[in-house]
Symmetry: C2
């Protein structure tokens, strides 16, 4: 960073926040350990990397425990020194040491994990997504982005679904993680309860009713299943409407299936189109 | 592999194909070098890994130059010894040495790259996809899979689109690479020519007409653009119908955009649904 930027940042920060020009070895180790779920749970935080994602975090109202950035990023983006409990301004090389990305950028942030109670999740009058054992972080991130696009503001995940605060999920969500409420819970109990309250429960199968021909309710819960096995036999009896996306391939060119994120997108599009 | 399997394979193969129980260092080096486009072009081959993918290759009619597999795979899957120019039966550890995958499986194959001439690609009377500078191999693989699902049997790629025979594309296509014709060419010239022949050219933009409200022709070319920049300014004037997938997010939760593979899926779904 330029000397002027550095001193501007220094003067700005000195009595409010800690200013170092190096990430300590311990901090680097801690940041990198956020790749592990156990550490994220223990500390109640998660990691977001990259200029776009950190800017979204800053704008989101999420509580930022540690912001690491270059002086350039700090001054050009007009970062409010009160926006994080601790701010470390350092150079790109130093950020690279802590980064989990292949091409580290100018900033990363350690952010307090929200933990919405299941009781806060209300499904009446809106469309929600439920995920039954989604395993791939890229898929969950993409599903968050799709949900955000289609105005679905909550996703209920089974306990065996990949953690939504896994850095790969956060990255793939392109910021949707800050805009879509995510909760991991006992999916069976949750769906049972919502069904008793009269909420329609839709599910995507390889042998359901042609989704293009169905009258879809603008409210309800859409359940998407595991990448390899689909919706589990435990959850299946709770689905009131079995949907399926028909293939248009010729018989001699039969495709295996659609990726679960792609299938989620097509289902959401069908629910929302008018 | 069990001794019995080994000798069964040996007797079966001995006068027809080469049988080794080791991949030579040179072969390992060659297989791994297929990660590079220049080597693939030079030798006119590409790599497919994993049981499912290799079985699809064997069933596809593609010419297989080298099949490497365990004795178990060879005997259990009833591999025809005439199905490849060269077959090497070896153990998993040896296959692992040549593999580009994180979790290598029981087989890999070096396959002759088809090179359909652009003149073979006819767009009249069918729906085709055109890709303008798609960069991410995972996206291209997923788009191949989507095309296959929606009965689109040809994709025309700009020269700056990622190579369709990149191992990551092949892997992500889940076998669709064997079922969908793929050609890289001068996209501008191609579209110009097809447009002159009366073929409608659709394109996905962030500011086109709401795709849900359009009368979509069952035939034509759908152009999808680069991950970050969309359709290039060079190609844009050739688009006769600008389409757009509306967001249903609330204003205070505006999403960035949809991933290009996801957007392709939603567009294809709209073209095909009835």
């Amino acid at each position: 960073m330029s000397l002027i930027n550095y001193f501007a940042a220094f003067l700005f920060l000195q009595d409010k926040r800690k200013l170092e020009d190096m990430l300590s070895k311990n901090k680097i180790k801690f940041i990198q350990s956020l790749d592990r779920k156990r550490i994220r749970e223990e500390h109640g935080v998660f990691l977001a990397e990259g200029n776009k994602l950190v800017e979204e975090a800053l704008a989101s109202g999420f509580e930022i425990e540690l912001l690491v950035c270059t002086g350039d990023f700090f001054s050009k983006r007009n970062i409010d020194p009160a926006s994080a409990s601790e701010i470390i301004i350092t150079d790109k090389e130093n950020i690279k040491k802590a980064s989990l990305l292949q091409s580290p950028q100018e900033t990363l942030a350690v952010i307090k994990k929200p933990s919405p109670a299941v009781s806060e999740i209300k499904c009446a009058g809106r469309l929600s997504l439920a995920l039954d054992c989604i395993q791939d972080p890229g898929n969950l991130g993409t599903i968050l982005r799709i949900a955000n696009w289609f105005g679905i503001d909550q996703i209920i995940c089974s306990r065996d679904t990949v953690d939504g605060y896994n850095p790969k999920v956060v990255q793939a969500s392109m910021g949707a993680i800050f805009r879509v409420k995510l909760v991991h819970t006992e999916l069976l109990d949750f769906l049972q309860h919502e069904k008793e309250l009269g909420c329609p429960v839709y599910g995507a199968f390889l042998d359901g009713k042609n989704i293009y021909w169905q009258q879809l309710s603008p409210t309800g819960i859409l359940v998407m299943g595991n990448e390899g096995n689909g919706i589990s036999s435990e959850i299946e009896p709770l689905i009131s409407e079995r949907l399926f996306i028909p293939s248009f391939a010729e018989n001699n060119s039969k495709p295996e299936s659609l990726n679960v994120a792609v299938a989620t997108a097509i289902c959401c599009s069908e629910f929302r189109r008018r």
